[in-house]
Symmetry: C2
Subunit: 114 residues, 2 copies
């Protein structure tokens, strides 16, 4: 129950917010672990699709952020998915090293206890 | 490599945006399938943690949205996770029926082809 669409249709399907951004969830393609969520603009989404190097827009630094450019903890794109209303992306990736800047495998390392 | 924190600390760890919202990713607790992403405010996050019924804030309708309230396609909370900087949540859920309003199992049913 999935559709395969062209890269062009994929880009057209994405609905960027008023800041020109869309949230992108990164999931480990092998383990299914959800690694992080960050933002992309049209430029970094295109770069991600074209190069296979997952690239975000850093809202805090206001610049293009090729994941792992400084840390070496890159994400190689395996599959790119867009949701029903085009306002969220799911990137299945091959993660090198920890995804989180804290050194944790995933940014989601804190869990609500009982 | 995970920490368990109290519900109180969990709520304190969350950083709501200027609209008072935080994105919440819903993942099927059993299969690992990423189902959808939607938004919560403090009230609906508290309701989710207290009742175990995953509850969002509908930005389009401007109202509390207990998932499945009309469709019956509810999400029962299994685990709640918060990310490193507190600006994204990951809810592992037990999903009844399809998660997507289109009838798809997951909202992410469109994939970029080669």
């Amino acid at each position: 129950m999935s559709e395969t669409i062209t890269a062009e249709d994929f880009l057209s399907a994405v609905s960027f917010n008023t800041e020109g951004l869309v949230p992108a969830i990164a999931q480990d393609a092998k383990t299914g672990l959800v690694l992080m969520m960050a933002w992309m603009n049209r430029e970094t989404l295109k770069a991600t699709l074209e190069t296979g190097e997952v690239t975000y827009w850093s809202r805090s630094r206001g610049e293009v952020w090729r994941k792992g450019a400084t840390s070496g903890h890159t994400q190689k794109l395996v599959e790119a998915w867009v949701d029903c209303d085009g306002d969220t992306l799911l990137m299945k990736v091959e993660q090198t090293g920890p995804a989180c800047h804290t050194g944790a495998v995933s940014c989601f390392y804190r869990k609500r206890g009982p």
